[in-house]
């Protein structure tokens, strides 16, 4: 009844403003305190070291199986102090990053094809999912026979480890897009390409990012497996080789220092790169449950 509308406008504007104020969801406050997020892992770490120190002091196992925490720390400090650590880190990390980037470049179009072309999905979807559960270390012997102990062999292993994870993450991300969004895109006038760019990819971003995170973990793991097994002077001296040398010399301090360095690089990149990215993406969408 449009006749009445003009008289109602003033009144309804006020009601509407009131409703807007009442119904707006409250801002979610940042959960967790500094104590919980920083102090608790430190306490857990201190406890772990204390138990280790205690077990070592009881001399249950020989030194070459369980060295003292301080001995491991000294070994780490030694490679840091001599500057050797930068060499291992550089060799391994730059390989992991190159391998990861190439994996992203391969896995992204592959994931799009898998998600959007039913024939491709039926043909190779199960294989790609299956590859995810195949430990990439299983590829090392094949890669060495194909390419010799070269960088190509190492990158092959890294790619076979990371590509399935990233592709599967993207597929999952696209599968989980609410069907209404592409329909809305069509109604708003998006063509196929525009729909992919402005709707499908941004909507799939959380799943894709989860895939990238897992892909990074897999490339780092695969790389360490490859470096540990395929050692040769022409491959340079990475963290895997350092670990391998520790084993060859029966130096448990070196082995443990190697494990810790591998761990810290993996966790460090996750915390410095992927966690903030994921946080920003999820928070923008109001998905704060896991943060």
């Amino acid at each position: 009844m449009p006749r009445e509308v003009a008289d109602q406008v003033e009144d309804s504007a006020a009601v509407e403003a009131g409703l807007d104020a009442l119904d707006t969801p409250p801002r979610s406050k940042a959960k967790g305190t500094l104590t919980r997020s920083i102090l608790s892992p430190i306490v857990a770490l201190a406890l772990f070291v204390a138990v280790w120190q205690f077990l070592w002091s009881r001399a249950i196992w020989p030194e070459f199986q369980l060295p003292a925490p301080i001995a491991v720390w000294n070994e780490i400090w030694k490679v840091i102090d001599s500057g050797q650590v930068w060499e291992f880190l550089w060799v391994s990390v730059h390989r992991a990053i190159i391998g990861f980037l190439v994996s992203v470049a391969v896995a992204t179009p592959l994931g799009l094809l898998l998600a959007k072309v039913p024939l491709v999905r039926a043909a190779i979807g199960p294989t790609i999912s299956g590859l995810q559960s195949l430990p990439s270390v299983a590829w090392v012997p094949a890669a060495v026979l194909w390419f010799g102990a070269t960088d190509a062999a190492i990158y092959t292993v890294v790619l076979l480890g990371a590509v399935p994870s990233i592709a599967n993450g993207l597929v999952a991300g696209i599968d989980q897009i609410p069907p209404i969004l592409p329909r809305v895109g069509k109604a708003l006038g998006a063509g196929r390409l525009d729909a992919a760019r402005y709707i499908l990819l941004p909507a799939a971003l959380p799943g894709y990012l989860a895939g990238l995170k897992q892909g990074w973990a897999f490339s780092w793991r695969s790389l360490m497996a490859a470096e540990l097994i395929a050692t040769s002077p022409q491959l340079g001296f990475g963290l895997g080789q350092y670990l391998h040398n520790g084993m060859a010399l029966s130096e448990m301090e070196m082995v443990m220092a190697g494990i810790l360095l591998i761990f810290f690089v993996g966790v460090g990149i996750e915390l410095l790169v992927f966690r903030p990215l994921e946080r920003a993406v999820l928070r923008a969408r109001g998905l704060t449950g896991a943060l």
């Binding site: 504007a13 409703l19 119904d23």
Partner: protein, 264 residues
């Protein structure tokens, strides 16, 4: 003032905003085929507000999708004056990664509108739905009613541009308020009438709520279910008080009759 019209009123000369001629839609093939719409004739004049009313399964959403071009009819003809109607769904379906303003801007961006013009039009449309101050909020920070208003502004943005910058000529709405609470629905109905008056757009509004149909529409079109056919039409423009109540009662009775015929 309630009058029953012929199925297709003759308006020779003027071009209709929407003209459906014997539109049929069948889903599936062979003996399992389901006819959703069976010979729909409908004409919506420019600037007219038409409510499509019907129970579940009457194909009202299917009909709206056909008019919106999201789906193709099995047979029959659909003619629109606009190249792209504005469409609003039951859910706001805002892009959760974009702010309210960016959501409104999206169709303009898709249409390749220049940045300055995009910003100006977005501000204008957010003003129209009285959400000027929340442009930089994300959908999850808005209430259900506010989200639906953003969706309305976004739909209008797509139509405005689809029409070469002229006023929107057709707005299609699929039960846009049915998921909202009663007060919000009431306010948004008033809001929609205000926007309709301000833009002069033709509106095709799908609903299962007789009261809503009579309050909003100038004309109410009742569809039967399975398959969907036009049963009857009523002119309900400008009804108030007792007349309005009478119209609601009458249409309700007819709707109940149509629904009852499905029992057995």
């Amino acid at each position: 003032m309630t009058a029953t019209l012929e199925a297709t009123p003759a308006h020779a000369g003027t071009e209709a905003a929407v003209r459906l001629t014997d539109v049929r839609k069948t889903f599936g093939h062979g003996h399992r085929a389901v006819t959703a719409l069976d010979g729909i004739d409908l004409r919506v004049e420019p600037g007219e507000f038409v409510c499509l009313l019907g129970a579940s399964g009457c194909g009202k959403t299917t009909l709206l999708n056909l008019i919106a071009g999201l789906d193709a009819p099995s047979s029959g003809e659909i003619a629109l004056t606009t190249t792209r109607p504005a469409v609003m769904f039951q859910e706001a379906a805002l892009m959760p990664w974009l702010t309210a303003a960016r959501n409104v801007e999206l169709p303009l961006r898709l249409a390749g509108v220049k940045r300055a013009d995009r910003v100006a039009r977005t501000t204008e449309l957010l003003d129209l739905v009285r959400l000027r101050n929340v442009g930089d909020k994300r959908p999850h920070e808005l209430s259900g009613g506010m989200r639906q208003r953003v969706a309305l502004a976004r739909a209008l943005a797509s139509a405005l541009d689809g029409n070469n910058g002229e006023a929107a000529s057709l707005l299609l709405m699929d039960e846009p308020f049915s998921a909202l609470d009663a007060i919000t629905r009431d306010v948004l109905q008033g809001e929609l009438l205000r926007v309709w008056e301000a833009t002069g757009t033709a509106v095709v509004f799908v609903t299962h709520d007789v009261r809503e149909a009579v309050r909003l529409g100038q004309r109410v079109v009742l569809l039967s279910s399975k398959p969907g056919r036009v049963v009857q039409e009523w002119a309900v423009d400008g009804l108030t008080g007792a007349d309005e109540a009478k119209a609601i009662e009458k249409i309700n009775a007819r709707l109940r009759e149509v629904i009852s015929s499905h029992a057995a």
